[in-house]
């Protein structure tokens, strides 16, 4: 290959890799900091994570995938999750229509004929991974014109240390130095945050990833550009595979209806493989179009079969899976002990998030205030298939100058394990009717420490002396039941004779996010505020939970300084 020109020994060329069970992607970051996804020689940006061997020749990606029909025994697919695992803890189900995983010492291998010789070899999953990564690296090197030798690779949040170690070794054997593994959902959040117009805000983001063999949901707190995963869920039943199966069953039944004597195409391996490939294509077509054609030559008994399906039919057939995915997302929010009202954004990731109905099913589980980022709901959404790899490319550009030792130390738990506020910290304001004050947060819960935030707060219309109470606040969901419909006047004297019947149709209750005032932390006075003046509060919270606050009228000098120590409360003079 022409691009394999030798780099100078120290030159590091790093890319981002997303390595899924179904597809892999590669991306790099351009000079002006934008991530770009690389197409391989077949023109694919989503490269099937599949290798196939024909007479000793190695096919990769889409070419290997089409071998699932004729050469399934020598085609290896859906293997990522097997890395670094023992045979007893893997689920071989996705490999039903390709080379089956088998136990090989303490690891896993595939029995395939991968040479010209007429014999099957045990090829370990590590070796398969290395070969796959080599092909990917070559595609990237070709595109970039220099030899890629390092990468940031994305992994699911539940990838174990053993799995990472195995992947790291496999990459190394493919001449790729893994600079860092980063979590897929976090990479997706980074891909959005790295856009030039993105503002860094405090928010809770749910990343809902519906991939080919599994679905993963993560609830991520994003505070000043620092990310903390609060909860995750994984599901191996709600998957792209299952959606394909819905279509397979549908067309199989159509076929049987038309050709009664030809038998069920699902019972023949090759027919089933053809259907599977075609149905995945139909599913993808239905993400854009409202109808799609299914067309397979010689589906069964030599009969060609074509049929069409429209989108609403597909949505009906798959509605249970969509609903199950939406439930999974809701459960993840519950697991994080949050409410849908707490969620600022839902990022839909994974290839199936192209499906409009999946975005709307998930969106329906959240209030209007939650932004749903998917192609069908937001014109500026990033391609959900590319979210992981884009984040990885950005991270690669950030750390490629660091040496491995440096990265290792920076990602050490001494650096990454950080105290997070258990409650929001804010001020008590007044408003018309509430005599107790209304909590307004300045620093949200789950913010990592240390943190420094400031707030500009209004004062009463006439100015004068004001009181600033710092307090803790806890998020609270206020549920207002709908006003019961006015009932017919009850008979004169029966006051406690209530015969309410709950049969009236239920109206939706109103749910709002409010704050409960917790501990009062301190009080401070600012005297003689000008008419219409504002007060600035600056809060610094250290990792040891000590608080250092400055209160002053905006534009005034000096101000009041207060310190709350972590062990005992002390005070200090004017700032």
């Amino acid at each position: 290959m022409s691009a394999e020109a030798e780099n100078t020994p120290t030159q590091k060329v790093a890319i981002g890799i997303s390595f899924g069970n179904s597809y892999s992607s590669i991306a790099f970051t351009t000079g002006d900091g934008k991530a770009e996804v690389i197409a391989n020689e077949d023109g694919d940006r989503q490269i099937p994570s599949i290798l196939s061997y024909v007479e000793g020749e190695e096919l990769h990606g889409s070419q290997a995938k089409s071998q699932l029909i004729r050469n399934s025994k020598n085609t290896v697919a859906y293997f990522r999750d097997f890395l670094g695992q023992e045979f007893k803890s893997i689920d071989p189900s996705p490999c039903h229509q390709s080379a089956h995983p088998i136990q090989h010492e303490s690891t896993i291998s595939f029995k395939i004929r991968d040479s010209e010789e007429e014999k099957e070899n045990d090829v370990t999953v590590s070796e398969i991974t290395t070969r796959h990564l080599k092909r990917i690296r070559d595609s990237a090197s070709d595109y970039l014109g220099k030899k890629v030798n390092a990468a940031v690779i994305t992994v699911p949040t539940n990838f174990t240390e053993a799995q990472k170690a195995a992947l790291s070794q496999a990459a190394k054997d493919a001449d790729i130095e893994v600079l860092q593994f980063i979590n897929e959902p976090v990479s997706a959040v980074l891909a959005y945050d790295a856009r030039p117009d993105a503002k860094i805000a405090d928010k809770i983001v749910v990343v809902a990833d519906l991939g080919g063999t599994r679905s993963d949901v993560a609830v991520v707190a994003s505070r000043g550009g620092i990310y903390t995963v609060l909860a995750t869920l994984h599901d191996y039943e709600v998957s792209g595979f299952k959606l394909d199966q819905v279509l397979i069953d549908h067309f199989a039944k159509e076929f049987i209806k038309k050709h009664k004597s030809a038998g069920d195409p699902r019972e023949n391996d090759r027919s089933l493989a053809k259907m599977k490939l075609e149905c995945e294509a139909v599913k993808k077509a239905l993400s854009i179009g409202t109808t799609a054609n299914f067309s397979v030559e010689s589906l069964a008994n030599g009969i060609d079969f074509t049929a069409t399906i429209n989108r609403s039919r597909y949505e009906l057939l798959a509605s249970k899976i969509f609903a199950a995915f939406a439930r999974l997302v809701t459960h993840a929010v519950e697991k994080a002990e949050l409410d849908p009202l707490d969620i600022t954004e839902v990022i839909l990731a994974g290839g199936n998030s192209h499906t409009p109905r999946i975005a709307s099913a998930v969106g329906n589980a959240f209030p209007e205030t939650t932004t749903v980022l998917a192609p069908s709901t937001s014109p500026t959404a990033i391609n959900p298939s590319e979210l992981s790899v884009r984040g990885a490319a950005i991270q690669a550009s950030l750390i490629q100058e660091f040496d491995v030792e440096d990265i290792e130390q920076s990602t050490h738990p001494m650096v990454t394990v950080v105290p997070h506020l258990s409650h929001a910290v804010g001020v008590l304001c007044i408003s018309g009717d509430e005599s107790h004050g209304i909590f307004h947060p300045i620093v949200d819960a789950e913010t990592s420490l240390p943190v420094r935030r400031s707030a500009i707060i209004s004062t009463p219309r006439e100015g004068g002396d004001v009181l600033i109470k710092l307090a803790e606040g806890a998020g609270h969901i206020k549920v207002t039941k709908p006003e019961p419909k006015p009932k017919k006047e009850a008979n004169e004297d029966d006051e406690d004779d209530s015969d309410e019947d709950d049969s009236e149709e239920e109206e939706e209750e109103l749910r709002e996010r409010t704050w409960k005032i917790g501990k009062i932390l301190s009080e401070a006075a600012i005297r003689g505020v000008k008419k219409g003046g504002k007060v600035e509060v600056q809060i610094n919270i250290a990792a040891d939970l000590s608080v250092n606050a400055i209160f002053r009228e905006v534009g005034a000098k000096g101000g009041v300084r207060g310190i709350l120590s972590s062990s005992k409360v002390t005070q200090n003079g004017s700032a």
Partner: protein, 445 residues
Amino acid sequence: MATVQINLPLPVLPEGWAGEKDFKPISQLSAANDRNIEPVGPHFLAHARRKRHKRTFSEDDRIQAQANVKKVEDDDEGEISEPEDPVLLQREAKDWKNQDHYAVLGIARYRHRATEEQIKKAHRRKVLKHHPDKKAAAGGTEDDQFFKCIQKATEVLLDPVKRRQFDSVDEAAEVEPPTKKETQKGNFYKLWGKVFESEGRFSNNQPVPKLGNEKSTKPEVEAFYNFWYNFDSWRSFEYLDEDVPDDNENRDQKRHVERKNQNARRKKKTEDTTRLRKLVDDALALDERIKKFRQEEHAQKNKRRFEKEAEQKRLAEEAAKAKEEAARLQQEKEAAEKAEKAEGKKAKEAAKNAAKKNKRVVRGAVKDANYFHAGGDAPAAQIDSALNDVDLIITKIDNEELATLTGKLNGQKDGGVITQIFQDEVKRLVGAGKLKDGEAKSLSA
């Protein structure tokens, strides 16, 4: 640094607030949670730079740092696996309707209480163990019957509609109501509590009220039985349907089976409603609290009756008393009136006497005034005229005026003064229109 804009105003400083240098610390922050931040993005790198500060961390540091970290990923190992019944493992997948789906997945101890997450995890555990590839690897046959049972169980239990259908007829989750004898041994709340808890799984309305105990209040107990007598159940019986023939050949047969199934479902539903009603009846009949409340009510009623009677008695007594009082008052009044009458008579008499006396004085005075004749003995005509005029005056004045006049005349001996007094009286009477001018000739001076 992020700045928050807050548009609600701050409160006014209360009168008399004081703090040293205008600051008053009150309490410390609540304890923080240790969590892992993601080592990703430019803001993390800035954090790492600050935190590392050219320091190097060791393996010990790693252990120490991770000691209290909040875990995000669940480990699947935590669950206790239920032992697998060898008979269960021999099941044929085609007989899936009769299998205990919970037992197949090893979550028989949770049954209808199992969460979706628990079912998923259980399924995964079973798949990892029973996938046909694993059996083949262990030298077994490629027998995938039990694996298919697992898939079927998961299909049913992860589909909310199918799961309800199965739960509706899940005999293993049923709790038989205790007999009367068992109940009367004194375990009513424990035994029946379990029954109602189990029946409550079919309720469309959640939460289901609890049976409670002997301390439950009457409204609680009433609410409980009301709930059960108005039970809104989702239980249905399509799971027990006879298979409908799938071929299009025999339409009539198909429709026949369908109709049969519909009828069977309806019948079972009716039977179930009756069963539940009887169950609630039985519980109600055995519920000591109901007896207690009835007794209390009875006592209450008696008490109310006593009170009512007492009240009536009191009212009657009061009425009698009032009547007596009225009579007494009447009597008194009458007596007083009588006395007053007598008194009046006496006064009249006295007045009469006084008037008589006064008249005498007045007439006497006429004599003293020499019949108003100036000098010498008065001629008879003058005497007559004077006496007539005085009589006229007397008839024209009432007793009071007479008394006044008498008062004025009393003790007067001088004829001129007396005459003047009479003349004044005549003038007064003329002024009052009681006498005509010149009517009393002898006195019209």
